[in-house]
Point group: C2
Chain length 193, copies 2
Amino acid sequence: MRNAEFDRQAVLRAAMRAFLVKGYAKTSMADLTKATGLHPGSIYCAFENKKGLLIAAIGQYHDDRSAQFQQLFANNNNPLHNLKAYLDGIVQECLSCDATQACLLTKALSEVGEQDEDIHQLIHRNLHAWQQGIEQVLNMAKSQRLIPADTNSQVQAQFLMMGIYGLRTFGHTEPNAAVLQPLADKLFSSLLN
Amino acid sequence: MRNAEFDRQAVLRAAMRAFLVKGYAKTSMADLTKATGLHPGSIYCAFENKKGLLIAAIGQYHDDRSAQFQQLFANNNNPLHNLKAYLDGIVQECLSCDATQACLLTKALSEVGEQDEDIHQLIHRNLHAWQQGIEQVLNMAKSQRLIPADTNSQVQAQFLMMGIYGLRTFGHTEPNAAVLQPLADKLFSSLLN
DNA sequence: TCCTTTCTTGAATATGCATTCAAGATAATC
DNA sequence: GATTATCTTGAATGCATATTCAAGAAAGGA
């Protein structure tokens, strides 16, 4: 009897970073062994193959981002304030020009989601959970009369998701606060009409 | 003396489709020879290498889309009407679930733009030209008092670009008119506030 | 018709890569 | 301490793939 030695979360976060920098197809197993510190045999033993490692990394990414999201909204502050801070945080990530701060879900969706049904469904589920988190925040804001009573929380949450996707794409071409911040502000103000 | 035999535009459109379906890295030269009908030697003679073919395909994509854009807005109809039709057309492309109707600029930006400076700059230029086309339409709408006089056309054009990027990403997860059309409508109505 | 130039062909090359596996190492159990 | 079950190691394997190049084909000019 013997237990596995490596720290699963640390390995998955390293793999996630590697996939974010080079994309799935261009990240070689050599890159992954270097990034994770694991030898090929260990990776195949733990995750079956390269695709299994991507799936596990996406799961870890979702867990990490969800925890971050819950934490940001866990206080009793004005939910709209929290949402504004959330959007501003995304702008900051775009400004960093750091590939490891990008969104693994949308990146993987674009590259492999169209070609692999397993991964497409996994990402779809994760993005949907994220959308429902935003929807809950909007319902809270509505019950506190911070946004119009006739707001359709689901559509508004979808609109915010759409805006966040677009903001991140825009950030790839213009990682510039003078450009991105007004866009994030305008997106936020769409809640108040 | 002898002239090249193949139709350059047809070849580039075929390559563009291949890249849209599988992505750049996963599209093999074998895929490209099959799609274009050209043999490897001819591709290397005409485009230098696989990356050169991608660059040429992106150029063709931009030319094709620009021509389509100009044509849609060339009539003397209400520019806002035309813009609405443009957004509705994008919704239709999303609904088709056809990878060849996706946007090669954003797809290539996501996959290779972060890794290759040549391609990043080319895509950046093309997306910027597209944004300026929208900006011109907004200026026309403003001069016809169809949108508020204090509209900042540049920011509004950026916001529309952002929305279009996001709409296409959203379409990958929910290719559903009941979801996408309200989002496009809400994006359009952001012009009128 | 013959010659020259240019284009086309596709097999060969060389490299890179995902995956496997058998030997070695380590921890728990007796 | 011996035994056993499990984990780790990393070189070997076989396949996929980007690129090259020399021979073949076709067009224009003499």
